[in-house]
Amino acid sequence: MRFRDRLANGDFVITCEAGPPKGADVGPALEAVRRLAPHVHAFNVTDLQSSVLRMSSWALCALIAREGYEPILQLTCRDRNRLALQADLLGAWALGIENVLALTGDYPTLGDHPDALPVFDLDSVQLIAAVAALNSGRDLAGNELEGETDFLVGAVVNATTDPLEPHLAKLRLKVELGASFVQTQAVYDPEAFVRFARAAESLGVPILAGIIPLKSAKMARFMDEHIAGIKVPEEIIHEMEGAKTPEERRKRSVEICARIIRAVKPYCQGIHLMPMGWEDLVPEILELAGI
């Protein structure tokens, strides 16, 4: 069953991030996708995440689609102007990619090419409008296309940010323009997520809560301080500090993720996992969370 049909059915869906390789060898990335496929309904392929150069998202998406799995093309506004974004979307559709997640994109200075030109010709809201235009058989300039797309377009939101109101207003606009599912940034504070979910209920779109397993207290602290949009509460960092051996850390990480999933599950329609190299934890997390 297609990802869009599962969402429409009201099924609880699991998506998982697949990071394109830093290089030309797609073997390990595809291997990870194959291992995870029995547990996951669709794979989000990241678009130069954290502004670090990697293989393009559409290329790994196409390879995932060729293997019979369903990709979600993550597309940011950071590196392409409106011409290139629309061109890549048309190409992605031709390669069998049916889902797009529209993002602003991290600023280039956060990544490994900090001297790169930040583009941001469109913003994420206008990118959703561009996808809607292509779906209606026209480009952003209003020109008629030879063959339209039929993308399912999703939006992102930082559900546990503070203050939430401006982010919620922006999300509402994205939904008005055609976003029909939402994937959130990593959630570590279930209470804040529930506040968000209640406020976003009136939007009437499925929300998938973001989950990132913590590898260590050090990683938790690093993400809290350096990864745009991620905040890890002090209690959770302390919890990770208490785990001394690699086995303990692994177990603790799985427990924390499962606990968060159980807490947010009644308030969302799915989970979006971002394992960041810890793909082998995914089955354990889902099992312990009772999914």
Binding site: T104, V125, P163, P166, A169, G229
Partner: protein, 226 residues
């Protein structure tokens, strides 16, 4: 020299809701030279507003609006007229509009587009910056420029990296869209937040046509040619 040109009348009138009263501020610096902020331009704008049912509570020509201290002093002398207005219309470059917005807690709208700033950001450089985008959106953003206050130049609110008012780009840097949200809340215009705006016409931002380069509106040194 900051070069400006008047926005279309319909766009200016579109900023005002039915019957709203306006106070007109113009810059006696660059904008006067460009004839967007001279007395004639302000007189004509006043007539257009009155005709459209918008009383003008007062006008002020201030030399170099980019000097916020001077703006504060001059406008405080005209307190009643300023307070009697619902909206301040400002004839200046983007820096001047932002300077007025920083001083007066009311909706502040640009009547001109800034198309070039030559070499400097106002004669009294402060934190306000203008991207001379040629399609000024300050009327919708509480007089804070999203192109220069947000490193990504977003038009529809903060990105996911904004947290507790701080930008993702560097520690301690304020999030421009957080500031815009707070300002719109302060002036009671949150209805303007996250309204859809189509992609910007980048031609106006990145290129100045030859015809305009040779006009009186380009720069002082070229005025003799016309």
């Amino acid at each position: 020299m900051l070069v400006t040109e008047l926005k279309p009348r319909e766009e200016i009138l579109g900023y005002l809701r039915d019957g709203e009263r306006a106070f007109l501020v113009s810059c006696g610096g660059c904008a006067e030279v460009c004839e967007t902020g001279d007395e004639k331009a302000i007189r004509e704008l006043g007539l257009v507003l009155e005709e459209a049912g918008h009383p003008v509570t007062g006008t002020a020509v201030i030399p170099f609006l980019c000097n916020k201290a001077l703006v504060g002093i001059r406008l405080s002398r005209l307190r009643d007229a300023v307070e009697g207005a619902d909206v301040l219309l400002v004839a200046s470059c983007g820096v001047g509009v932002q300077a007025v917005a920083a001083v007066v807690p009311k909706p502040v709208c640009p009547v001109a587009n800034t198309i070039s700033y030559g070499t400097f950001q106002g004669i009294w450089p402060a934190e306000e910056r203008c991207a001379r985008c040629g399609d000024c959106v300050l009327a919708y953003t509480g007089g804070i420029c999203p192109l220069t206050a947000c490193p990504k130049g977003l038009l529809h609110g903060p990105c996911g990296g904004s947290y507790r008012g701080e930008c993702e780009v560097e520690p301690g840097r304020p999030c421009g869209w957080h500031r815009i949200y707070e300002r719109l809340a302060e002036i009671g215009r949150l209805d303007l937040f996250a309204q859809y705006r189509p992609p910007k016409d980048r031609r106006r931002q990145y290129d100045v046509p030859l015809s305009r380069r040779r006009s009186t509106f380009w720069a002082l040194e070229y005025t003799e040619e016309v």
